[in-house]
Amino acid sequence: MEHGEGDSPTAAEKKGAAEEDDFGYRLFPDRNKKPQSFLVRSLFTFHNRCQVMLRMTLETNPYAQLLLEAMKQSGCTVFNDRHFSCENCDGCVSGGFDAATSQAGIVLCQNNIRQQSHMNRVVTHELIHAFDHCRAHVDWFKNVKHLACSEIRAANLSGDCTLMNEIARFKFGLKGHHQICVRDRAIRSILAVRKISKETAEKAVDEVFDACFNDLEPFGRIPHSKADARRAYRDFQNRHRYNANL
């Protein structure tokens, strides 16, 4: 399970090294449980709100629309009811991408996502993981470098590390601060779902940072705003013309 956006669990939640790595599934206790009845679910406003916000993101947000189009072209059309689920999660996680066989899909933490802008970012972040899963042989569970690469890309391209978001986290910096943020968030995400040492996570991130920070698929640029994302979407749609002329 790949931990999406949000803060990693506190130290109290980390288990001893003797236990098996649960790949972060402990954060998503409702995963793989039979869904509750429609009546029960409809009474819970968290679930409704999550569904409504998700729909708004998928229909109007240019980041998400570009990723959906890119995944469709890669052969992985995303269906709302199959590939997304709104669930209650533990801790402060906001979402995750489940890469297990027959389970591949995006989990959104309905109890932790409260604003549309947050939903936009989480969906974009997880769709980047899904896009990587679709286009490449990513060994999510055994190769920390692969996980690190996808986390770097997700932090880089989803808007997680915009200046305003960093200021809201009381992290201040300007010159090249985006890269510092991407590195830190990638390490935190890895530590949330893998029982490895911080040094191992840092080493993996540092080894693949240059290659993965500069892998801007499918955006072609680092989108710092919706306007950038719209520009990237337009370029992506015109790409068939570029390729035909090469």
Binding site: C76, A100, R135, H178, N245
Partner: protein, 102 residues
């Protein structure tokens, strides 16, 4: 034909020289952007248009700029971390298995 209409190169050059883009580039890369190549590509595109009948090929310079225009965004010169698939994952469309343990 060049990979993009000439107006696109002009639009990218104008965007690149804007204050907002300069700020974001400085925030992301620690330096100010250099926009000269967009202008060069625009000039090359216009020159090709003017001499279309005479020119047999699109100037190679127009093909080099912007990985996005080449349909590829991989950082140049970096070894890829993973191998690309030839086909999408086979289980992408399979129904969810509710009883499967994690």
């Amino acid at each position: 034909q060049p990979p993009r209409p000439c107006e696109d190169y002009w639009g990218e050059w104008k965007h690149c020289r804007g204050l907002r883009h300069a700020f974001h580039h400085y925030y992301a890369h620690g330096e100010l952007p250099s926009c000269g190549r967009w202008r060069e590509d625009y000039e090359a595109c216009r020159a090709w248009e003017r001499h279309r009948a005479a020119a047999a090929q699109v100037p190679p310079g127009l093909l080099r700029h912007s990985p996005a225009a080449r349909g590829c965004s991989y950082g140049e010169g970096y070894a890829p971390v993973w191998t690309l698939r030839k086909r999408p994952p086979p289980d992408w469309y399979l129904p969810l298995d509710q009883d499967k343990p994690n």
